[in-house]
């Protein structure tokens, strides 16, 4: 190429890159707008006609579940570490909040934060023990952890076993008592904060490091990423988020008992939620969370049918939509955006429909 053609080539290249970047920014703004819209809907929900107090309580539980699923999605989807034991952190968060509220009458915010912090601490310890293990072994280990927490919670006196810890019927926020609807708003705010935090985390160098470790551990280490450090951070953050969800759940129904929190199947359900919904930050946990909470809710009388349905949907998702339902729903949007980017000169990007890569 002559210098002249090289120059124009460079200019065209620059223009093309700018156009692509501009389009991508538009798409990012659309995503943010969609998320904001979702939150607007959530906030407006209690004000809709026909919606009653008890629905707020139910909705709170769904939201709490979504937050818990987000914690699991961070670890499983973005870091590639499979955990079947996160229910243990739900318990830790719930009991921490409950004990603080009952014995010290603390403000709700402090109880929730304490639940998160406690879970983060124990999550870090757990990471130190289990991160040495290869994938399947770590999964089994975390299941063991959930069982262990279940046993402790059922048997240690301080947790009052199946009789449970009863909490005051209204939670205290900054000194004011708030009812179910108020608590619903608190949980929506928590969801927003957690989502914002995860969004920030995943776009940062930390998120990049986690994805790198997931995709190719050797190459990541060769680039200077300390795998123990970053995976432990992922563990701690993931545990903290699920712990916060646990604290919220306990405070929401004003009752914490081993019957619920000593049951390991919540851990498994969380994993199911992430697998069925997909591991994206919002869509995945939302869809997965809705699935896991709504199925037993609608089929309360037909437990067996609910079980069969759950198993069937799970297998169907694995066979036909291994990246999760969230990904399938997003496909038309992705396809359209890919077309528009190609029109502006952007080469085709990642393929659609890959399941979560996990560490072997």
């Amino acid at each position: 190429m002559t210098d002249a053609t090289l120059g124009t080539h460079r200019e065209a290249e620059s223009a093309r890159r700018r156009a692509v970047a501009a389009l991508k920014q538009r798409f990012a703004q659309q995503d943010v707008a969609l998320a904001c819209l979702l939150f607007v809907v959530l906030i407006a929900l209690p004000l809709a006609p026909g919606v009653q107090g008890w629905m707020a309580s139910q909705a709170t539980l769904v939201i709490v579940y979504v937050i818990a699923a987000q914690g699991v999605a961070l670890l499983v989807g973005y870091t590639g570490l499979v955990t079947v034991g996160h229910g243990g952190f739900l318990a830790i968060g719930a009991y921490t909040a409950a004990l603080l509220t009952k014995h010290f009458g603390v403000d709700m915010l402090i109880a929730i934060l304490a639940g998160g912090v406690m879970s983060a601490i124990i999550g870090t310890l757990l990471g130190l023990i289990f991160l040495r293990l290869a994938g399947p072994f770590m999964a089994i280990g975390t299941l063991g952890f959930a069982f262990f927490i279940g046993t402790v919670v059922n048997n240690a006196k301080i947790f009052e076993g199946r009789e449970g810890i009863s909490l005051p019927p209204k939670n205290a926020l900054f000194g004011h008592a708030i009812g179910d609807t108020g608590f619903y708003y608190v949980s929506v705010v928590c969801l927003a904060l957690v989502t914002l935090f995860l969004w920030s985390l995943l776009r940062s160098s930390v998120g990049r490091a986690l994805r790198a470790l997931r995709d190719s551990e050797r190459a990541a280490e060769g680039s200077g990423v300390n795998r123990w450090f970053y995976r432990t951070i992922a563990f701690a953050v993931s545990a903290c988020i699920t712990g916060i969800a646990g604290a919220l759940s306990g405070l929401a129904i004003h009752f914490v008992s081993a019957e619920v929190y000593g049951d390991i199947w919540y851990s498994v359900d969380l994993l199911v939620a992430v697998v069925v919904g997909g591991s994206s930050m919002m869509m995945g946990p939302f869809i997965g969370g809705l699935f896991v909470v709504m199925v037993p809710f609608f089929f309360e009388q037909l437990v067996d049918f609910a079980s069969i349905l759950k198993g069937g949907v799970l297998i169907a998702v694995l066979l036909f939509a291994p990246a999760g339902i969230g990904e399938v729903l997003a496909r038309p949007v992705r396809a359209m955006r890919a077309r528009r980017l190609a029109a502006v000169g952007m080469p085709p990007e990642r393929s659609l429909g890959k399941p979560m890569p996990v560490n072997r």
Partner: protein, 289 residues
Amino acid sequence: MFGQQVMSGLATGSLYALTAVAVVVVFRNTRTINLAQGDFSMMGAFFALILLKQFGFNYYAALGLAVLGVILLGVLVERAVMRPIADSDWLTLFTATLGVYYILHGVAGWLWGRDTKAFPVTFDPTPVKLLGAIVSEGHLINMAWAAGIGLILYIFFRYTKQGIAMRAVTDDPETARLMGIPVRFIVMLTWAMAGFLAAFAGVLIAPIIFVGPQMMDEVLVKGYVAAVFGGLYSIPGAVIGSLMIGVAENLAGGYLGSQYKTATAFAMIVALLTLRPKGLFGIQHRREV
């Protein structure tokens, strides 16, 4: 007292071993953590229960038919669920078996109800003197069954064409395929074997823990803990692990109180994985550099 605890621990441990060995065999041949293993046993127990109670079959006929039934179930699961996703990562495989678990739980609850039922053939508590300790005859019978099955497995892997082929697939599936070994058939055989072991585990343990959809949940987890003792790879390791769990939990239950029985297995697994991430007998399972 101590001797009795140990002996009965060995007996229950040998039943756990049936589950643990099935878990190991399925995992090392297909990289699948089979969460439905316990439910295969549960279905076997229910099959036998129905045949005994409703159709009045005798024990051995019922046992035999239950074994056949669960073998078929294992093969069905392999073809319908596992084969289409055979090349996926282990999380997909694992979650698929979880799906089977949920389905079997639901089917059992729907067909037969969620309450626990007594098994028509009761556990024989006749005390027998053995090695200076007193053991129930029922325990002895179970141990004999487990030992017999162990012998069958040994002969299978050592001397039969299929067994040797299976060992080749375990070691190196690619090379085995290149050598003309029908890997898909071996995989089907693997799941059939899992069913075979599961049926015995379920029917033999039914008199002890009664029959219900969730009967094998705890046994499954203990089987997994035992399998991890063998690094999810070694059958002898899984057997020894099972026996250790059986004995340890009995002793813990006897001396510390029965609520600690379940926790024992988990304390053991956490201790094991912390101290020796390779498993007691297993091959390299730590993260590679």
